[in-house]
Each structure stands twice: as structure tokens, then as C-alpha cells.
């Protein structure tokens, strides 16, 4: 293992070239991952800013901070930014981009220039979205429901639709790159049953990106054409069917939830064996559960439409299929737990996030079963119960996994260690802040507070104040890692090649890796998660 002094001087992907051009024209997957990291962090804080404004408005029962119109725009743009410009690209475009070639022993993704292209498409889409926000915004809700979006809203629907259309291309190209890379670029000996489960999760995610995203793309094109050129495909006054829009929209947007959660599950599946010092329990089941979540995910979309007027028989079938998704999800949770059973567990920062993930995902998943049940769904549709449920999945699940992964691989990405005690503190703050923000919303929703209103009956105020208080704590928990990650780039202890004594190929190259990832092309002759044969780390564990 290289000493700190040598690591600092070694040529790596960060110090091989300098200057703005070497970044903006790079085709190195690791540098593109960092470009994504910067841009999605930017959008995360914009989306978070909108969220804080929403929570501030809801501090009191009357509309005092913003008017109803502005409030509509706030939750619309919060949703659009967070879904399309943060959550969808978050783990795949940053960690997946950085790690997949390293994990399978390749020099780069299969199509490095397409990888850069997808970042530029993302930036063009993001710029369009920013322009749209700064010149008036949108108020349709992130769902663009017709006929409001096509015939009635007088906000910038066309611009927002086009921005999301373009960002969809970015997402498709990332998924395409991953699938081809995983099929064609694996190092000798890296068989399908030796692939890290992070890679399996990204494979499943990419399939959804490839098959789902084009459908929302064409749906948004039709919405834009309906607004701009007066086509009438979703127009009820001409016999068009707004429900058709909802079907097409959710055909992508339900699987999109799995685009957000599957990579996070992949991250957690890497973290848990490492800090339990045990081989993953049921490798094949975890791998195949990712694939089956992706497949089932395409068959449940109409559970978003139980009260929209679909037939009872359709609703029954979609309800039953929605329950089925719980099976592969539960397989994962049981396998993570079984992996930890009798393991030698250390409570380091990534592991704390993994614990948080399991707990919050469990809450989000189980309340998902409530919503899949037709009777309960009618009661809680369009209430804060739904809001709380999907935030437990998308923030509690996806973002916890993202942060856990950022901590786990930060030494590899930056070549520096982050301060461990601050890391643990931030993980705890995020967990507490998150629950304080969103748990009261389950109760609010069950009591009947509808979503998307800027004011509410006074008896709901206590729970709303709790939620707003929680959101400020959550904000601290999110800002903290950004601060100490930046700090560690200059002042952090130099990271060894494998600070956690983890098993993946990515830990067998230097930290940070050289431009072409490995000095000698790796040949794999061991099984995945071979923790029985890897000693636990002695000194690097408690650095901070």
C-alpha cells in the first residue's frame, strides 16, 4: 500500500492535466462524474431552497409568506428540479459514472464522448430550466397533468417541458453507456456472478432509463405540441383523453422512482458487507431482486390513478401487482439484515447512512403498501400521507444512499479522508432532521390535510411547525458534508488505496486512480465480497 507522501505525488486523474479546458473537454469518466457532482449539487440546493420556502409558508395556517400562485410554482419547481435534475442523475451519473468502469476493471465507459455529451445535454436542460424559473416559472405540479398544463396554465409549460425532454436524453445516454459497458467491457474473470451488486443495481436502473424515459419524452412532446400548435391528443373538448396522459406519464414516472432507489440499494449493498466484514447473504437473490424490481416497476403505474376514473378491474389488478413489488424489496432488506447477523460491525459514517437507509426505506416501503390498498388509497390520495410516503423513499431512501456512497468512496474520488466524527454527526443529524420533517406529514395526511395548498385549517399547525423545524435541521445535515468534503480536499488526511479494506476492484488501484484506472489491466480470479479472506483495517478506521 502506498504511503501518504507517495500518493500525493503520484500521477492521477486529478493532477494529470490542469485548466478549465481539461475539464470541459474531458472524456475521462471520473472527471465527468465530478462535473456531474458539481452540477447536481447546485440543483440540489436550488430545489432545497424551494423546499424551505414551502416549509416556511406552511409554518402558519394562513397564506402570509407567498400567494397561492407563487406557492403553486414553488412546489412545482421543487419537484421538477429535485426529480429530473437531482435524483434521477444523482447516484448513476456521479457514483455510477465514477465507479462502474473501476468496479469491472475497464479503462473507461464504452462511449466516453457520449458520456460527455450527456453531461452537456444535462447542462443545456438545466440552463433552460433555470431560465424558465427566473422568467416566471411553471405551476402545473411536477406531473404536468392535462388539460391544466395544455389549455389553462398561463405559465411557462413549454419551456419546462422542453428542459425535461432534453434532460431525458441525458438520462437515456447514461443508461445506454452503462448497459453496453457492463456487457462488453468487463475485465477477464469478471463474470456476471462476480459483478459487484452496485453494478447489478445500475444495470437494472439503466434498463428502466432506456425503456421508460422515451415514453415521457414523447408525452412531453405531445403536451408541447398541444400548447404550441393546438394538436388535440389530450384535449377532452375534442374527444381526447386526459387519462391517456396520466397513463403515459406514470408509465415512466413510476419506474422513475426505481431509477432513484435502485442505485441507492446498490450503494447500501456495497457498504453493509464491508462494515460487517461478511460476504453478502444471498448474492444471486440480491442481484435478481434488482432486475425484478425493474421489471415489476413497469407493471404498476396505474396505482397513481386509482381515483382518476380507471375501471375497478384495472384498479384491482394494478393494486395486486403493486403488492408484488414488495417481494423483491423485502428480499433485499432481509438479505442486508442477514449479512449483518453475526458480522463484526463498525459504526462508521457510511454504515450509519446504510442503517438510516434501511430504516427509512422500510417506512417508505410499508406505507407504499397502504397506498397500494384500494380502500386506504381513496382515503389518503392527494394528502400529505402520499407526500410523506414518497419522501421516505426518495429522500430517506435515495438521498441517504447517495450520501452514504459519497462518504464510502470519497477517499477514492478525492484521495483524501473526511473527518470521521463530523461525518457521523452529520449522518445522525440527517436521520433525525428527516424524521422530524416527514413523520408528522404521515399524521397530517391521515387526518386529511391535502397536498399542494398554501394554507390549512389551524388545528394542523402544531404538526406543520414540527415539520418545518425538522426541515431546518435536515438542511444543516445536508450542508455539513458539503463543507467538510470541501475542507478535506485541502486539509484532509491523504487516503490510502483501500481505507476500509473493502473487496471491490475499485479499491485495488490507487486513490485517486490514474487516468486509465489501472496501471496493469486486472484479471479477476476471486469471488465477490470475499470478506472472509480480507483482514479488517487496523489504523485507517478512526481517522478523525
Amino acid at each position: 500500500m502506498a504511503t501518504a507522501a507517495i500518493t500525493a505525488e503520484r500521477e492521477n486523474y486529478l493532477n494529470q492535466e490542469y485548466g478549465i479546458k481539461s475539464w470541459l473537454l474531458t472524456v475521462d469518466h471520473k472527471r465527468i462524474a465530478l462535473l456531474y457532482l458539481l452540477s447536481i449539487t447546485f440543483f440540489f440546493f436550488i430545489g432545497g431552497f424551494f423546499a424551505l420556502l414551502i416549509r416556511l409558508e406552511l409554518l402558519t395556517p394562513v397564506g402570509d409568506l407567498v400567494q397561492a400562485d407563487t406557492y403553486n410554482k414553488l412546489f412545482t419547481m421543487h419537484g421538477q428540479i429535485m426529480v429530473f435534475f437531482f435524483l434521477i442523475p444523482s447516484i448513476p451519473a456521479v457514483l455510477g459514472n465514477f465507479l462502474i468502469p473501476l468496479m469491472i476493471g475497464a479503462k473507461d465507459l464504452a462511449f466516453p464522448r457520449i458520456n460527455l455529451l450527456s453531461w452537456y445535454l444535462y447542462i443545456i436542460a438545466g440552463a433552460l430550466m433555470l431560465h424558465c424559473m427566473l422568467t416566471g416559472g411553471v405551476d402545473t405540479g411536477w406531473t404536468f397533468y392535462t388539460p391544466f398544463s395544455t389549455a389553462f396554465s398561463n405559465t411557462k409549460v413549454i419551456e419546462a417541458g422542453l428542459a425535461i425532454f432534453i434532460s431525458g436524453f441525458s438520462s437515456i445516454l447514461t443508461g445506454l453507456n452503462f448497459v453496453v459497458t457492463i456487457h462488453r467491457m468487463r475485465a477477464p474473470g469478471m463474470t456476471w456472478d462476480r459483478l459487484p451488486l452496485f453494478v447489478w443495481a445500475h444495470y437494472a436502473t439503466s434498463i428502466i432509463q432506456l425503456l421508460g424515459t422515451p415514453v415521457i419524452a414523447v408525452t412531453l412532446v405531445l403536451v408541447v405540441l398541444e400548447r404550441a400548435l393546438h394538436l388535440g391528443i389530450f384535449d377532452p373538448t375534442r374527444g381526447g383523453d386526459p387519462l391517456l396522459f396520466q397513463h403515459l406519464f406514470w408509465f415512466y414516472s413510476h419506474p422513475a422512482v426505481y431509477i432513484m432507489i435502485l442505485p441507492s440499494m446498490g450503494v447500501v449493498t456495497e457498504i453493509i458487507p464491508c462494515f460487517s466484514r461478511k460476504r453478502i447473504f444471498g448474492y444471486k437473490f440480491v442481484a435478481l431482486s434488482s432486475i425484478s424490481i425493474a421489471v415489476f416497476g413497469f407493471l404498476v403505474w396505474a396505482h397513481h390513478m386509482f381515483v382518476a376514473g380507471i375501471s375497478l378491474y384495472a384498479a384491482l389488478i394494478f393494486s395486486a401487482l403493486s403488492y408484488l413489488v414488495a417481494v423483491p424489496s423485502a428480499i433485499k432488506v432481509f438479505n442486508w439484515t442477514a449479512t449483518m447477523y453475526k458480522g463484526s460491525i463498525t459504526f462508521s459514517t457510511p454504515m450509519l447512512y446504510a442503517f438510516g437507509f434501511i430504516g427509512l426505506f422500510l417506512m417508505g416501503g410499508l406505507t407504499g403498501l397502504f397506498l397500494a390498498c384500494l380502500g386506504i388509497d381513496v382515503h389518503v390520495t392527494d394528502t400529505y400521507f402520499v407526500v410523506a410516503h414518497f419522501h421516505y423513499i426518495m429522500v430517506g431512501g435515495a438521498v441517504m444512499g447517495y450520501l452514504g456512497g459519497m462518504h464510502f468512496w470519497w477517499p477514492k474520488i478525492s484521495g483524501r479522508m473526511y473527518p470521521e466524527s463530523l461525518g457521523r454527526l452529520a449522518a445522525v443529524i440527517v436521520f433525525l432532521g428527516f424524521n422530524l420533517t416527514f413523520f408528522p406529514q404521515f399524521i397530517l395526511g391521515y387526518l386529511g390535510m391535502p397536498r399542494r395548498y398554501w394554507q390549512y385549517p389551524p388545528e394542523f399547525q402544531v404538526l406543520n411547525v414540527l415539520s418545518t423545524a425538522g426541515s431546518t435541521i435536515l438542511a444543516v445535515g445536508y450542508v455539513l458534508p458539503m463543507v467538510y468534503f470541501l475542507w478535506s480536499m485541502r486539509y484532509g488526511k491523504a487516503a490510502p488505496d483501500n481505507p476500509w479494506n473493502a473487496s471491490g476492484l475499485e479499491w485495488m488501484t490507487t486513490s485517486p486512480p490514474p487516468t486509465y484506472n489501472f496501471d496493469t489491466p486486472p484479471v479477476v480470479d476471486w469471488e465477490a465480497y470475499d470478506y472472509e479472506h480480507i483482514p479488517a483495517p487496523q489504523e485507517a478506521r478512526s481517522g478523525g
Partner: protein, 231 residues
């Protein structure tokens, strides 16, 4: 070492740094293209789905509106596109046989046929504009339901048909325009001699794209033009 086959292959200037062999590179590009075509199927699939539902609901109106399309021009265009797929295949074959001149001729023919298709499409659209068959405030479609001369077509449902007609043929034409751009690029490089029997992946993959766009039309033509043409 220098005369082992792998070492020789690595000297091919078209081999990118991150691939080990030309074979691996070709297979990766080909898989990438097939996946892209899968996304295209889903893209057009959304519109086909809308078409099927409305056609099922409003069949007589759709049949009447469909009969107003120019079947001669539609048939000619179908033939033009099928021929262009043939010339694409011939261009790839010429590259495999290292016949540069033939390659250039076939690519140029493909371009001419592609542009002819777009030209004919433009003529059709223009006449639809003149007849006020374009959805919107000025839309006007006078016809009776097939088999019921006394019963006029529902204007709204006819508008739905033309909405789908313009959306679907419009998206198809957009793909044709992109295809023409790609084939102009290929023509230039083929003329420079870039594609040989050893390396012609761009030609092959662009050919796949062209065939795909062709196949979309093969479905669009009967669905839009031939709903009720029995005499």
C-alpha cells in the same frame, strides 16, 4: 510480439484507447445502436398507443379522415423509402468489399431518396394546410362517415386523427432529417476513404438507424392511409 494478430490490430487508427480489440469495439457500438433503437421503439410506442385507443373509440371518423390522405403520394413515398433501405445495404456491402466508388454512389443515392421522401411529405403537408385539415382554430373537415352518406364526420374526432397524423409523420420526418444529416457526414467520409472492410462500424450502425426509420414508416403508412380503402 509485433507480428501477433492482436498487436497488429492495435495499430488500427480507428481503435479507441479503452478497447482491447477492434472486435470488442465493434460489438460495443453495435449493442449501443440496438439499445438506442429500443428507446426509439418506446418513443414511437407512446404515439402508436394513443393512435390505437382513439382509432378504437372513433373508428368511423378515423376511417373518413384517413381517406382524405393522398394515397398515391403515400404509396410512392413507401416505395422510395424501401429503395433507400436497399441502397444503404448496398453501401455497407460495398464497404465490406473495399469498393469505395460504389460505396459513395450508394450513399449518394440514399441521400437523394431520403430527400425525395421529405419533398413528397412536404407537398402532402402543404395541401393539408390549404384544405384546413391542420388542427387548431381554422380546422374544417367536411365529409360523411363511410357507408353513411347522410351522417357527417365529427369535426373533433377528425381533428384527433389529424393531430395524430401530424405528430406521427412529423416525428418520423424529424428522424428522416437527422438521418439525412448523418448520411451526408458518412458520404463525405466515405469519399475520403474512411470505411474499409476492416472498419465500417459507423456505416453499419447508421444503416440500422435508417432501416429503423424506414420500418416506422412501414407501420405508419397502413395505419394512417389505409384504414378504409376497400372499394
Amino acid at each position: 510480439m509485433a507480428d501477433s494478430p492482436i498487436a497488429v490490430e492495435q495499430h488500427n487508427p480507428a481503435l479507441k484507447h479503452h478497447f482491447a480489440t477492434m472486435e470488442q469495439q465493434r460489438e460495443a457500438s453495435s449493442l449501443g445502436m440496438w439499445l438506442f433503437l429500443a428507446t426509439e421503439i418506446m418513443f414511437f410506442g407512446g404515439m402508436f398507443c394513443a393512435y390505437l385507443i382513439y382509432r378504437y373509440w372513433y373508428f368511423p371518423d378515423f376511417a373518413a379522415a384517413s381517406s382524405s390522405l393522398d394515397i398515391t403520394l403515400g404509396t410512392v413515398n413507401t416505395a422510395v423509402l424501401i429503395c433507400s433501405s436497399l441502397t444503404v445495404v448496398m453501401a455497407v456491402r460495398a464497404a465490406q468489399l473495399d469498393r469505395r466508388k460504389q460505396q459513395v454512389i450508394y450513399l449518394a443515392l440514399t441521400l437523394v431518396l431520403g430527400l425525395a421522401f421529405l419533398g413528397i411529405k412536404a407537398i402532402e403537408w402543404t395541401s393539408k394546410f390549404k384544405e384546413h385539415h391542420v388542427p387548431g382554430a381554422t380546422f374544417n373537415f367536411e365529409a360523411s362517415l363511410p357507408g353513411h352518406p347522410e351522417q357527417p364526420v365529427d369535426q373533433h374526432h377528425a381533428q384527433l386523427f389529424f393531430s395524430l397524423y401530424f405528430a406521427m409523420t412529423g416525428m418520423h420526418a424529424l428522424h428522416m432529417i437527422i438521418g439525412v444529416g448523418i448520411f451526408s457526414y458518412l458520404l463525405y467520409h466515405a469519399w475520403k476513404g474512411a470505411y474499409t472492410s476492416e472498419y465500417h462500424t459507423p456505416l453499419e450502425n447508421s444503416g440500422l438507424y435508417w432501416h429503423f426509420v424506414d420500418i416506422v414508416w412501414i407501420y405508419l403508412f397502413p395505419l394512417l392511409y389505409l384504414i378504409d380503402r376497400k372499394k
